[in-house]
């Protein structure tokens, strides 16, 4: 058998292009369905585990999928916002504990998630370096964000403007990185967490500027009355929150009307959850409450339906490939008829000739299996990130 393998090895080495083509065909046809299944399993695991651990979600009526994907996986599609009073309403019901989430802005391609400290307890997120959020302007980075941007506590991160051409729009805010989270292998690794008030400052609802009452610079004052001071455009607006200007930051208007993208509702028990859900069932309701697991389950059902179609296509392509490979071997046998005649004349048995051919097929299949296993191992190693890139964000 060793001699047969040696001769077969010399043959496949000599015919490198033919061998490489055959190995590539077999590898791909085996790799594609396996890799797809692996990625789907991983996506199901990632999507479902996070969805199942989030009992209820309150958000504006509209796409349930957008709401879940944005709140749980910080997806690009930002749902319609709801008011902060909707979170208060959940709390006032006494049926569930609300955690507001405002996932609208970005900092260098990473989602800024405005929330409360309760979110960290709810998700079981732990600080790997630095400290948790304490004051407005603080930012705690997910492990992957800190790693990819090379940031650590003490550094700064600037929020990205939503629209470069909107001069009156959202100004960038320089946030102070005060902590980095431990790796959680979830979407939280790819988020920049700030206090909900910091998110509102980024939105422009809150701001800080030089004190007009104390200001000695008369050129800043446009009009001064007993009750009011009006400044002109020379007034310096702070784009960074520091200990020196922290007190100058303030909000205008009723903060119960400030916007959030969703409210995670943690019901006291199953019964409370059911009652709470019932309160959102009315024709006039502008908000919706939903179970993320149901939404993700529906999404996965669609993905698996598509996967079944892809499996069918791969199966047909696989059959075509196998037939093509059989044809290649049959033609190869015909081309090698003279060689076979020669070794037969020398004294080689038909069984040995079959062994030689078998050894070639064995080498090609083993090479394909090894290559496929290596590729699957690579996909498996990076499946977490690949799934996020391909299916989540």
């Amino acid at each position: 058998m060793i001699d047969s393998l040696y001769i077969a090895w010399r043959y496949v080495r000599f015919n490198k292009i033919k061998t490489a083509t055959l190995i590539a065909c077999i590898t791909l046809i085996a790799f594609l369905p396996l890799a797809l299944q692996l990625l789907l399993d991983e996506s199901e695991r990632q999507l479902m585990s996070r969805a199942v651990s989030t009992p209820l979600l309150v958000g504006a009526k509209g796409s349930a999928l957008d709401l879940v994907m944005n709140t749980l996986y910080f997806d690009d599609e930002v749902p319609e916002s709801i008011a902060m009073m909707d979170a208060d309403r959940v709390e006032e019901s006494g049926l569930a504990f609300p955690i507001p989430v405002y996932a609208r802005f970005r900092a260098r391609d990473y989602r800024i998630v405005g929330t409360t400290l309760d979110y960290f307890d709810f998700r079981g997120l732990e600080i790997a370096a630095g400290r948790p959020l304490a004051i407005v302007g603080d930012a705690v980075l997910g492990a992957a964000v800190a790693d990819r941007l090379g940031l650590k506590p003490g550094d700064a991160l600037i929020s990205s403007p939503e629209n470069l051409f909107d001069l009156a729009g959202v100004y960038p805010l320089k946030m102070n990185v005060v902590g980095v989270l431990k790796k959680s292998h979830t979407s939280d690794d790819l988020a920049v967490f700030v206090d909900i008030k910091t998110a509102w400052i980024i939105e422009g609802l809150g701001h800080g500027h030089q004190d007009l009452i104390k200001s000695q610079d008369a050129s800043v004052i446009l009009k001064r009355t007993e009750k009011n001071v009006t400044a002109n455009a020379k007034l310096r607006i702070y784009t960074e929150i520091s200990k020196l200007n922290l007190d100058s930051f303030h909000f205008h208007g009723d903060d119960s009307k400030y916007r959030v993208t969703a409210v995670i509702a943690l019901p006291n028990d199953t019964k409370s959850g059911t009652i709470l859900r019932g309160r959102y069932i009315s024709d006039g309701a502008t908000n919706q409450i939903l179970k993320p697991a149901d939404v993700i389950d529906g999404l996965l059902q669609n993905i698996f339906r598509i996967k079944n179609v892809i499996d069918g296509v791969i199966f047909l392509v696989g059959i075509a490939t196998v037939l093509a490979i059989v044809l290649v071997f049959a033609l190869s046998l015909r081309l090698r008829q003279r060689e076979i005649q020669t070794i037969f004349k020398l004294g080689c048995s038909r069984m040995t000739i079959a062994k030689l051919m078998g050894a070639e097929i064995f080498i090609i299949i083993v090479s394909s299996v090894v290559l496929c296993a290596l590729m699957i191992a690579v996909v498996n190693h990076f499946s977490n990130d690949l799934v996020r890139m391909a299916f989540i964000r």
């Binding site: 001699d3 001769i7 070794i343 004294g347 080689c348």
Partner: protein
């Protein structure tokens, strides 16, 4: 060495018929077989080698009745006792010269490829003046070098009988003489018998005996 008696042969399909009442070749004899194409020269070599079996009659080589052996024994007998040299050399293009020479050892259990066999292969190649080309592939050799490698392959198992099927047919006149010299020399050194099918009239005088196969007339070489 070779003894054929009352041999009758025909293929399963076709008109071809071969009838050899009596045919003998003695040990160490160098015999040329001539005759027009289609007269059955190559078929005779295949019958002697046990590749074909006669419909009737007997074929014996070195006192072994080849035609009476079963298929496996015929193959073992062939690979250990008979060396084949072909017109087109029939070297395998994906093997280097050394691997081609030892190839018979790798395709049968009747021969064992050990260190001595390898050393003999190298020594044989050096004597054939291709010792420096052992790692080259067949396509990188000249016609003469290819036939030298093919002769090395035929002689390595120490066969008692060499069957050469137009071994010089594809060589230029200069190489024909050199190859035939080498073949004769090594056949003599190994005390082997040579039965060569050839069309080359110029080379016939160098054989001990020439057999015209068409009318099966025996005549002594000049």
């Amino acid at each position: 060495m070779i003894s054929i008696h009352s041999l009758e042969f025909h293929y399963r399909y076709g008109e071809f018929r071969l009838s050899v009442p009596e045919f003998r070749v003695t040990q160490c004899e160098k015999v040329a077989v001539i005759g027009p194409s289609g007269s059955g020269k190559t078929t005779l070599l295949n019958l002697i080698a046990g590749i074909f079996t006669p419909v009737s009659g007997t074929v014996s080589v070195d006192n072994t009745e080849v035609s009476a052996l079963n298929d496996a024994r015929r193959r073992d007998f062939r690979i250990t006792n008979i060396g084949f040299v072909f017109q087109d050399f029939e070297l395998l293009d994906y093997l280097n010269v050394l691997d081609n020479v030892v190839h018979p050892y790798r395709i049968t259990r009747a021969l064992t490829l050990d260190r001595s066999a390898r050393e003999r292969a190298v020594s044989l190649a050096e004597r054939m003046d291709i010792g420096d080309k052992l790692t080259r592939f067949a396509d990188d050799l000249s016609q003469g070098e290819k036939q030298r490698a093919a002769i090395c392959r035929a002689l390595l198992p120490h066969p008692k009988l060499i069957l050469a099927d137009e071994a010089t047919g594809n060589l230029d006149p200069e190489n024909k003489t050199v190859i035939l010299d080498l073949l004769f020399q090594t056949v003599e050194e190994h005390d082997a018998t040579l039965l060569a099918v050839t069309h080359d009239q110029e080379l016939l005088k160098r054989f001990d005996r020439v057999i015209d196969f068409q009318d099966f007339r025996h005549r002594d070489a000049a």
